[in-house]
């Protein structure tokens, strides 16, 4: 089955091509069927692959030469490791459901087929990214993911906000991409290869089980200095410095894609796209790519404690920052978006403190409950046709299924046992705690409290109280409810895949370097997590259970509320210190170019022309003047000749 792994990304690609060619002529149902079936088939294959990996272990990479570059050949290919087998399943599962959901959501859109086309491409890119064995190939899919998100966020191109958001998403992630690009180049310069295994271990690893775990730093040093085809590291860097540098550059890429501080600003704006797109971006594809990158490059980070610390700190900081912003937003999708940023922060935190398995586990559970939250939000928006929380309310009765699904997602997000989020988040927090990063632990805990508060704030405002709008909200069709149900189930039970008592995922992933996972049961921490989550919910109920209380709380917090409501002014800050200066510099240079550089050119050419005019008007028409000049010329020649002849 692993030999067929290439089919997993190729099927959505085929769907894309089919829709590209014939999409316009097909009915909406046919379009949906093509896309959903392709991705569903991918899901089935992925599942089979995962089972096979679970039984037989990972398979070596299948590669073919792609380009001879300099003295080396760059090969492309794919491989099946336990990590990407799991990712494949998760991505294809969530994607298939989102695709199905979109059938109802996008019904009647003029560019329905185009939408599915882009989504298929998006899924292809993400699956390709997951399955590659090669950093360059990874980067190619990585950028393709970015483009798809650009296309999808800007799908409603006629909305200026959507166009701006798409551009913003692309450019902000582009900044991160350049970091990854440079990191990739430096890695290649150091190790003369793009293959993940060769980068990490100096050779392709046929059977990862034979590799010694826990000493990648040593492996690096040995690899760099004595490996096959000995060559010094670029710029004469010491192994430790080189590894830290490249790891940090790679992390910059992840920061951009996964919307970590300070490049988190694009993700909330990306809400301008259709809601299924948000679900896909937030749950399974785009943002997950950043976390996946760090996980895929985990040996590199392991080898550099400094880089790992940076990852952890950035992750923790992002978690709390986004959670604080999420407290006060009015737009239902924005709240969920900030929750994504925050949850991604958790994952980074996990990877940073070495809790590889926890990070991946949280990525998985998050994918389920976040997709669920977005799709329910989409269902709600579809029903009430607004995104403003304060114009909703009372949907619990009007849309019971959606209500239940959202509740499941919210509980999972809040980390309330036994929902999925509890297990994964708790593992991260306990990993932070046990690794001795108490500050990060505390930060994570506070963020968890905020998370519970804001998501239930959303819940109460949306589903509680009375409906404030004038429409008649109702449940969407089957295409919308099936995905919701499936995801709701997953959001509820997915946590059991990796409980401290039955660490299935941990075992599954333990093929290489997955250290830092402490499966020991720490009841104290678990209780603390659960209590903090419940406290958050309680506060939300207190604030929004009765009208007017929330306003009073907001007024009391005053400055802090404003800060949070305005997203800590990051957009304004970037606008002031980056966007506007660049534009100003550009305008100034444009001016310089037109008037100073070209002006100089005109000055020179004008000078020559003036010289010509001078010569022209030097011809006075007076023959005697000409004669005088002639005699003058004779005199000058005489002087020169005298100089030459040595007479003078």
């Amino acid at each position: 089955m692993t030999g067929l792994a290439w089919l997993v990304p190729v099927l959505p690609l085929a769907a894309y091509v089919l829709l590209l060619i014939g999409g316009r002529r097909l009915a909406e149902g046919a379009v949906t069927s093509i896309a959903v079936l392709a991705v569903a088939a991918s899901f089935v294959i992925s599942l089979a692959i995962m089972i096979q990996v679970a039984l037989h272990g990972p398979q070596p990479a299948v590669t073919f030469p792609w380009l001879v570059l300099g003295s080396a050949t760059i090969s492309f290919g794919f491989e099946v490791t336990s990590l990407n087998a799991m990712m494949l399943v998760m991505v294809s599962f969530v994607s298939a459901l989102v695709l199905l959901f979109s059938r109802g959501y996008m019904r009647g859109d003029a560019r329905f087929a185009r939408f599915y086309q882009y989504l298929s491409l998006f899924v292809f890119a993400m699956l390709g990214l997951v399955i590659t064995s090669n950093l360059l190939e990874f980067y190619i899919f990585w950028e393709l993911v970015g483009v798809c998100s650009y296309l999808l966020v800007g799908f409603w191109y006629f909305k200026p906000e959507a166009a701006a958001a798409a551009k913003k998403a692309f450019i902000v992630t582009r900044i991160g991409d350049v970091g990854l690009f440079v990191g990739m180049i430096l890695l290649y310069l150091g190790f003369h290869t793009m293959n993940f295994d060769t980068i990490f271990y100096g050779q392709a690893v046929s059977s990862p089980y034979t590799m010694a775990h826990g000493a990648p730093a040593l492996l690096f040093a040995a690899h760099a200095l004595t490996g096959p085809g000995i060559h010094a590291l670029p710029y004469g860097l010491a192994p430790a410095a080189f590894v830290t540098l490249t790891a940090l550059l790679v992390f910059v890429g992840a920061v951009g894609k996964s919307a970590q501080f300070p490049l988190h600003v694009w993700l909330p704006d990306a809400m301008e796209g259709p809601t299924p797109v948000s679900a896909l971006i937030h749950a399974a594809t785009m943002v997950a790519a950043g976390v996946y990158l760090v996980a895929r490059m985990f040996p590199l980070f392991q080898a550099s404690p400094a880089a790992s610390d940076v990852v952890a700190i950035v992750g923790g900081f992002t978690a709390i920052l986004a959670a604080l912003i999420g407290l006060t937003q009015h737009d239902i999708k924005r709240v969920i978006a900030y929750s994504t940023v925050s949850q991604l922060g958790y994952m980074m935190l996990a990877l940073g403190v070495g809790a590889y398995v926890s990070g991946i586990f949280h990525l998985m559970t998050h994918a389920f409950f976040k997709a669920l939250l977005f799709l329910t939000a989409g269902s709600v928006i579809h029903a009430v046709e607004t995104q403003d929380l304060f114009e909703m309310g009372g949907l619990r009765k009007l849309m019971p299924l959606t209500n239940a699904a959202f509740l499941a997602g919210a509980l999972a997000l809040s980390g309330i046992p036994p929902f999925a989020g509890f297990w994964s988040k708790d593992e991260i927090l306990s990993a932070a705690f046990s690794s001795g990063n108490y500050v990060l632990y505390a930060v994570g805990l506070i963020a968890a409290f905020c998370t519970a508060f804001y998501i239930f704030r959303v819940y109460f405002l949306t589903f509680g109280g009375e409906y404030k709008g004038d429409r008649h909200p109702h449940e969407g069709g089957l295409a919308m409810t099936i995905p919701l149900t499936a995801l709701a189930v997953m959001a509820t039970v997915a946590g059991f895949f990796n409980t401290p008592w039955a660490p299935w995922i941990a075992n599954f992933l333990q093929d290489r370097g997955a250290v830092g996972y402490d499966p020991a049961v720490n009841w104290g921490l678990m209780v603390v997590s659960a209590v903090v989550g419940l406290a958050g919910i309680g506060l939300a109920y207190y604030a929004y259970g009765a009208p007017g209380r929330a306003q009073r709380m907001a007024q009391k917090s005053g400055f802090l509320y404003t800060l949070s409501f305005n997203k800590f002014y990051f957009d304004e800050l970037y606008d002031r210190i980056v966007t506007r200066p660049i534009r100003a510099i550009a305008e100034a240079l444009g001016f310089v170019d037109r008037w100073i550089i070209d002006g100089l050119v005109r000055l020179v050419s004008g000078g020559v022309y003036t010289g010509g005019a001078g010569l022209r008007y030097g011809n006075t028409g007076q023959i005697q003047t000409y004669g005088l000049v002639t005699l003058f010329g004779v005199a000058v020649l005489l002087i020169i000749a005298a100089g030459i002849g040595g007479v003078l």
Binding site: G70, F158, A162, I171, R174, F181, I582
Partner: protein
């Protein structure tokens, strides 16, 4: 087969002559002749490309005809002036590029309705000149065709351009004319330096080397360069001469102001030829002559070269951000991209050089495509001003889509030709000049900034009412754009189609220059 290259040059030239004798009223006959000739030339170029022996790093398809013999006071052997053609791994892709862009420009010129016959006459001559430049294996031949491109382009701009065409054309003429002068000085200096050096060296080292030998043949000079080194002083001086010529020729900062003006004024077909092919000549000169024949000069001033490249990258990108006209924006974008190539050449690495050639081809295709798409929308909206556009995705979905593809390709998106080029050339330059390269990567962000900004204003946003009734791409436009997009994606997805041809030559050059 050996004549294929020569035929690519000859066919358009003959067709140009033929067009002269077609009555001006028979515009469609003129178009037909022109298209046929361009297509045939492209097929010959393609045949040569396919028949190119990828394993050899020498000039292939040699074709030479002696034109005149000049008594040589320098020595007893007369100086032979020849028309010599040939292609190696560097020039072969560019010849094919010329064919593609030439044909597409010719198709594009369907929108020319004024003085049709003359237009095709000059366009065919320009194409012949461009083929000749890249296919020449002789300094004189090269210079000859370079000058041919000068006059023909002048006419194309000054007759079929917009209001400011005369000024822009004159500017173009003077700038490039001066560049040719500098280049000629460099050529002659090169030939003579090698002759002098060969004479000196022949006594001691090379038995049987003809004394008093003066050759303008590029392969000959390259083989001399393989035998001995020119003196450092000569290399330094000549390299600076070449660099200066290239800076003007290629519109690098601060000698660039003629290019935006020319692009702003010229018609779309001409812009494709200028932006797509003509603007690759300068860097081709650097690759062809400086890298192979003046390696130490290049080494000596690699930092300067790289620095100038980076300045152009950043400056071009920033100024592009401030442009209000699509054509000027593309011009600055092209300046910025060519800066990348300069940086890559400065790296002296095989990978970097390969990236440089890739970038030349890629940027040629993408620039031509950008001009094509922008021209196609301007045919309909009657404007190139970014601020007057908006929401074109609605009425012109195909053209907008292609414009987006071209823009994303220029941004360096993987899966398209720009990415692999950038990757290879940065690989080279990071190895040699990490700091310059690091600054250069800023260009990768800025390019996204200005192109997406322009895209946002052009195709996104609410549709303007005046553009409601526009008709989308016609079949001929479909074909042209599809060809470009297909090539860009082909190179992006399977770069070996280009890389195999380039690789051996670049590798052998790099082996010589110790990179």
């Amino acid at each position: 087969m050996n004549d294929a290259l020569f035929l690519t040059v000859l066919l358009p030239a003959l067709a140009a002559l033929f067009v002269l004798f077609v009555p001006a009223r028979a515009a469609s006959a003129v178009r037909g002749v022109s298209l046929t000739a361009q297509l045939l030339a492209l097929l010959f170029a393609l045949a040569a490309y396919i028949g190119f022996n990828k394993g050899m790093a020498v000039f292939q398809f040699p074709f030479a005809a002696t034109w005149l013999t000049v008594p040589n006071a320098f020595g007893t052997t007369p100086l032979v002036i020849r028309f010599a053609f040939g292609a190696d791994g560097i020039s072969m892709p560019l010849i094919l590029l010329t064919g593609v862009v030439g044909l597409m420009a010719s198709m594009r010129s369907h929108s020319i309705h004024e003085r049709v016959k003359e237009h095709y006459f000059w366009q065919l001559l320009l194409t012949a000149g461009l083929y000749g430049v890249f296919a020449s294996a002789d300094l004189f031949t090269f210079f000859f065709f370079l000058e041919a491109t000068l006059v023909t382009t002048y006419f194309l701009i000054s007759v079929w351009g917009n209001e400011g065409r005369r000024r822009a054309a004159t500017k173009f003429l003077i700038y490039r004319g001066l560049a040719s002068v500098v280049l000629l000085a460099g050529f002659i200096g090169l030939a003579y330096s090698y002759a002098v050096q060969a004479q000196g060296a022949s006594m001691q080292v090379y038995l049987g080397f003809a004394p008093n030998f003066l050759s303008l043949s590029i392969p000959q000079l390259i083989s001399e360069a393989g035998k001995f080194q020119l003196s450092i002083a000569a290399q330094d001086a000549l390299y600076l001469v070449f660099l200066l010529a290239v800076l003007v020729e290629e519109a690098f900062v601060p000698f660039h102001t003629w290019l935006p003006d020319a692009h702003e004024q010229a018609d779309t077909g001409t812009n494709m030829l200028i932006g797509g092919v003509l603007m690759k000549i300068g860097l081709y000169i650097l690759l062809r002559f400086a890298v192979e024949l003046l390696p130490q000069g290049l080494q000596q001033f690699a930092w300067l070269t790289g620095l100038l490249g980076v300045i152009s990258i950043i400056y071009g990108a920033l100024v592009a951000l401030a442009q209000k006209d699509w054509r000027r924006l593309i011009a600055f974008s092209s300046i910025s991209h060519m800066g990348l190539v300069l940086l890559a050449i400065a790296s002296l690495q095989a990978v970097g050089l390969q990236g440089a050639v890739f970038m030349l081809v890629s940027s040629g295709l993408l620039t031509a495509l950008l001009f094509y798409a922008v021209g196609a929308q301007a045919d309909r909206t009657k404007t190139f001003e970014i601020k007057n556009l908006g929401g074109l995705s609605k009425s012109l979905p195909v053209i907008s889509g292609v414009l987006l593809v071209a823009a994303l390709g220029s941004v360096g998106l993987p899966g398209m030709s720009g990415f692999i080029s950038e990757f290879a050339l940065f690989l080279g330059s990071f190895a040699t000049f990490p700091w310059l390269a690091a600054v250069g990567t800023l260009g990768m962000i800025l390019v996204a900034l200005y192109l997406l900004y322009a895209m946002q204003r052009t195709t996104f946003g609410p549709q303007r009412t005046e553009y409601d009734q526009l008709a989308d791409a016609r079949p001929v436009e479909y074909v042209a754009m599809a060809v470009f997009v297909a090539l860009v994606i082909l190179i992006g997805v399977y770069p070996s189609v280009l890389g195999d041809v380039v690789h051996t030559t670049v590798q052998s050059i790099a082996g010589r220059i110790g990179g």
